[in-house]
């Protein structure tokens, strides 16, 4: 269940800098991971995914890194722009392969 009083972690970066958003997952059997971006008042949008047989995957200005040893996932955004301001969620594929378990999210604020 959710913890009472849990606050969303926030990352503030200067426009033009690189951003790194981290996510720890719990299930060592998870074999597929997705990063989503959610802007205020909107539904989450798919950004990038990675399978457990890979350590790194690159997209346009984004890179996802997977460290299975420590069960850690990160999203790197190059040259962060104001439009990148949003909440970012990682999601791991659950044991049955049908559904995802979402992390609590990180709010990214881009400073001018």
């Amino acid at each position: 269940g959710e913890s009472v009083g849990l606050h969303l972690p926030t990352l503030s970066v200067q426009e033009g800098d690189n951003s790194i958003i981290n996510c720890a997952y719990s299930n060592s059997a998870s074999d597929y991971f997705i990063w989503y971006k959610q802007e205020s008042g909107k539904g989450p949008q798919f950004i990038i995914d990675i399978r457990s047989n890979m350590d790194k995957r690159q997209g346009q200005r984004v890179t996802v890194l997977l460290n299975k040893t420590v069960k850690h996932l990160s999203l790197q955004i190059a040259a962060t722009q104001p439009g990148d301001s949003a909440v970012y969620f990682c999601a791991e594929n659950d044991d049955y392969g049908q559904n995802f378990v979402f992390g609590p999210g990180t709010r990214l604020s881009v400073l001018p």
Binding site: E2, L6, L8, P44, Q45, F46, N93, G97, N99, F102
Partner: protein, 114 residues
């Protein structure tokens, strides 16, 4: 291309009133369908998912129910709303014909129960 529609965008309902939120998907067949709830500043909690017409799986016991009367229609309902039902409700679909079950989300419905 596939699109997902969710309505209404916002809803204010009194405690004890019924609820019906609708979600439809276009451009795909036999999708997996999902309802999530998101409390303010929190992550996504899976409420229901469906792999076919009339097939509903519930993830958490609650005051809500879901139905899938047609292949691309998913409805979230309640007979009597509680204050604790307030939140941001998201519908999503996934193409289970693909090895990757990426979920694509609708724009959400913000429900306020007063």
């Amino acid at each position: 291309s596939q699109t997902i529609h969710q309505w209404p965008a916002t809803l204010v309902q009194p405690v004890g009133s019924p609820l019906s939120l609708e979600c439809t998907v276009e451009g795909t067949s036999n999708p997996n369908l999902y309802w999530y709830r998101q409390a303010a500043g929190r992550g996504l909690q899976l409420l229901f998912y469906s792999v076919g017409i009339g097939q509903i799986s519930s993830e958490v016991p609650q005051n809500l129910s879901a139905s899938r009367p047609q292949d691309r229609q998913f409805i979230l309902s309640s007979k009597k709303l509680l204050l604790s039902d307030s939140g941001f409700y998201l519908c999503a679909w996934g193409d289970r014909a693909l090895a990757k079950n990426i979920q694509y989300f609708g724009a959400g419905t913000r429900l306020s129960v007063l």
